[in-house]
């Protein structure tokens, strides 16, 4: 079991009711985007549907994923993330795109 550091956007921090944007998510097995999102939704059920759609699990258009300064938004959700994320040395970033008013 790995403890992954995840940084949430401010609105999701509020919705999750946590004191910091950075949260720890437990992931079992290979650390992938899908595994992290599963872990986020397991710990914070109220975030279901906010990062990826109900049912299809498709990433919402204005949400992006970053790891080790790389954009993972368009990668396969089942690709293994860098070791630095899997080992908890770097955070996995969930970012709300800068758009709109």
């Amino acid at each position: 079991m790995a403890e992954i550091s995840v940084v949430l956007p401010q609105h999701l921090q509020t919705l999750a009711r946590v004191p910091s944007r950075e949260v720890s998510i437990a992931v079992e097995g290979v650390v992938t985007v899908r595994a992290i999102l599963d872990g986020i939704e397991a710990r914070f059920p109220q975030l279901r549907g906010t990062i990826r759609d109900h049912g299809t699990n498709k990433r919402r258009p204005f949400v992006r994923f970053f790891a080790c300064e790389e954009d993972w938004s368009h990668a396969s959700p089942d690709d293994p993330l860098p070791a630095a994320v899997a080992e908890g040395r770097e955070a996995f970033l969930v970012v709300g795109a800068m758009a709109g008013g």
Binding site: P9, H11, Q46, G49, I51, G100
Partner: protein, 371 residues
């Protein structure tokens, strides 16, 4: 002493405005859910402390919240709105088919008898219901699969189900409206539906008897005569005396019969209110003068109500769900504007004042009259 709670949904959060029965001084609470679009919030008529909220964001989608203490605290509830089966297609603006896609909840209508039951009108147009206080939502798919569904087209705001009227004495009867499909009625609690648009005439629809395609903006009724319906259509104010079977135009002497909001006095079932808006594209009051128009005759004859409202340089809009009434002896009328003002009249519309002036654009206004 009685009290009033005004529930205001805005582009950037929810606000709760509270007053005693005198309605002279108001306390403003909020923003709740700051930064989120609050399309609608509404309290249960059975348990006024139970308030349901539609909270949304272009980034993070649809959230739902519920308060069990009159809006002091809220907790997230279920936010999964899955269409039944393979949703099929409706039409886009250009007439080409487009798959049904859930976007947001426009309107929440709590049951008249059960605080755990709520109806939700959504975009793309469909009706959902919860019977467990919002934990789960299930589509009443007989509406969307009504034979005309594949021909429904969106209005400028999207293909939205924005109006839900529950019949107080006939639990099976539900009237809803969709922009720009029209009005529909169920007489079996939402299982099956029929279009109720006879008598509606809309520019751009060559067939005056078209079953669907009418841009209904809002419908209101009085609880003592729930089969008398008043409609603000894109153009024309209409009424039906038979639950929507036939509509007749009652625009009468209105300076323009375009508008969005319409409501009925709490104690006078033939007294109705609209806010005429200049259109087709301006969507602000005529001549910069914000005026509510009142008919005491169920339509046809209208009088302007201007006392306390801006007499010049006012270019706001009043959206379809942004007018409501209280049920105090001297009926209070309330409406919110896209300029962030919420106006109240404690005397049935004779005089007005702003409860609050500088909120984000107001999307919806609901009123709870409390003991």
């Amino acid at each position: 002493m009685s009290a009033v709670r005004v529930l205001v949904g805005t582009r950037k959060g929810a606000f709760i405005l509270s007053s005693d029965g005198a309605r002279r001084s108001w306390e403003v609470s909020g923003p709740h859910f700051a930064g989120w679009e609050i399309y609608h919030l509404k309290g249960s008529p059975v348990d006024p402390d139970r308030i349901y909220v539609s909270q949304g964001s272009g980034w993070f989608g649809q959230q739902m919240q519920r308060s069990d203490d009159g809006g002091r605290t809220f907790n997230p509830i279920g936010n999964a709105f899955q269409y039944d089966g393979v949703p099929g297609t409706h039409q886009t603006f250009d007439g080409t088919p487009h798959p049904w896609e859930f976007k947001r909840v426009w309107h929440l209508e709590p049951s008249l008898s059960d605080p755990d039951t709520v109806y939700a009108g959504v975009q793309d147009a469909a009706m959902f219901r919860t019977t467990d206080g919002g934990a789960s939502w299930h589509e009443l798919s007989g509406l969307r699969t009504h034979g005309s569904g594949y021909r429904w087209q969106p209005g400028a705001g999207g293909l939205c189900l924005h109006t839900i009227l529950l019949h107080p004495s006939n639990p099976g009867r539900i009237v809803i409206a969709i922009s720009a499909a029209g009005a529909f009625r169920s007489d079996d609690g939402g299982t099956t539906w029929k279009a109720i648009n006879k008598g509606l005439v809309s520019d751009g629809i060559p067939d005056p008897d078209a079953e669907v395609g009418h841009c209904v903006h809002h419908i209101a009724s009085h609880r003592s005569r729930p089969d008398v319906l008043f409609m603000q259509k894109h153009w024309h104010v209409m009424r039906s005396d038979n639950g929507g079977d036939v509509w007749t135009k009652v625009s009468g002497n209105l300076p323009t019969d375009f508008g969005f909001a319409i409501d009925v006095h709490a104690h006078e079932p033939e007294t109705i209110y609209v806010v005429p808006i200049k259109s087709d594209s301006e969507h602000f009051p005529l001549d910069g003068k914000l005026r509510v128009y009142r008919s005491r005759t169920g339509g046809h004859e209208w009088e302007p109500l201007a006392k306390g409202l801006p007499e010049k340089d006012c270019y706001v809009n009043v959206l379809r769900d942004a007018m409501a009434v209280d049920t105090l002896d001297a009926c209070g009328i309330y409406f919110g504007t896209t300029g962030g003002q919420v106006y109240a009249s404690p005397d049935g519309g004779d005089s007005w004042s702003a409860i609050v002036r500088d909120l984000p654009p107001v999307l919806s206004v609901e009123v709870q009259t409390l003991p």
